[in-house]
């Protein structure tokens, strides 16, 4: 669990930097939205989807873990949801994540999406048209491999 926690934290941190550099005004990238309050757009949240796949590389000491990652972007309208979704997919495709130890900041692992075809994106409309929580949600998913040193 601690391992996933550090991976998620590192991914969220680097995603925030990436989005900010592209002009997205997001106050922070959340690590799963758990509050009992409703989410306020614009917001971005990172989820690790349940998976139990781990691959041992024969003859090496490295362990490779497979992570399915979902990034939700809650935006106020459809075009911005689509737009940020495009940038998030680019981020998934081209940005290797350096997983850092939260306490020591030491590099622990690399987290990379090798399989471009695993990246998908869908923009979800507000489910209840009249709801107070009126925003569009872009859901981007990708499969990452995490290689620990």
């Amino acid at each position: 669990m601690a391992r996933k926690y550090q991976e998620r934290r590192s991914l969220a941190s680097q995603l925030y930097t990436y989005l900010a550099a592209r002009g997205w005004n997001i106050s922070e990238v959340l690590e799963g939205f758990q509050s009992s309050e409703s989410v306020q757009a614009p917001a971005v949240s990172v989820y690790f989807l349940p998976t139990a796949i781990a691959e041992l590389e024969m003859g090496r000491t490295q362990k490779t873990f497979v992570r399915r990652v979902q990034i939700d972007a809650y935006m106020l309208n459809e075009p911005t949801a689509e737009g940020i979704g495009d940038d998030i997919m680019d981020f998934m495709d081209e940005t290797p994540i350096v997983v850092k130890d939260i306490e020591t900041n030491a590099d622990l692992a690399n987290m990379i999406c090798y399989d471009t075809s695993s990246i998908s994106s869908e923009t979800v409309p507000p489910i209840l048209k009249e709801a107070r929580v009126k925003h569009w949600r872009n859901v981007s998913k990708a499969t990452y491999e995490v290689h620990y040193f």
Binding site: S36, S38, S45, D72, L128, R132
Partner: protein
Amino acid sequence: MVTVRVELDQSATYAMIDTFTENLQAAEQFAINQIKDRIRYEVFGTVVYALGARAGEGFPRVYREHLSNFMRLNVPINAYASGDGIISINYDFNSLGDYTDLELGAHHQALIAIDKGSLATTSKGGLKYIIHPPVVNLPYQGEPLENDSDKRQDFWERVIVDRELDYAPGLRRGASEWTIEELLGGNVPTFEDVAAARVFEAWIPAGVAPEWLWLENGFTESEPRIYPVDFTQTLENITYCVADKIYEEAIIGLVRLAEAAGGAIGVGSKGRPYERASGQFAPYRQEINTADISECLGSI
């Protein structure tokens, strides 16, 4: 459109059985039928129940039962061999419904707006009682609603998380407002009531099961949250595993049976092996039917 597509490359197996081609297509079809049956009757239900439980309390049992049954009955599974050792299996979720269908289950028991001008007033100018104010009965058909979205969200959150309200989101009654209990005759619906109403009053009559979208993408905005569980990717992984195991038993097992018998085994027109000498069926089919896929299902 979301399609689950699995391609099983069995070209190596084909090369192995080059010399054993008698009625191979029939045997292959038999394996494919097995794959389709077991995906339909075992994989769908197992995946929906397992992932539904992981999705949290926002995806209650009534959704899981409905989605599982609906998929078993309504999702067409296409599986075919392309003749070069590639087995393709695909099914799509078009028949399950989309986000428009989710809205059929919205606003259960919400107050429908009424024309205030048509109501009699008291001598002091307040509106008279409405004994049975009109409420939305599912499926929701787009009726205009009495309360604004903020009030209805507050009411919904009270239902879900038992949050206290500062006011009763009801119709005006003179100087005061109706309480929720007054409005609904004391029967404030629980979340379980709402979920059941969505399934039985909205989605089943409409012939859809749009709750699959909540398993696929989650509902992470507000309570009750449904945690995303990667529904289609998991189905794809399990389908691949199951297809691989069944094919292994159906075809490779058949070849081994024939090899062990020194070529004394033939394959009937329906893919069933038989002993050439006696003409009797070899005891094989039962093994295919019971191919152990628990390892695949256990990986969820």
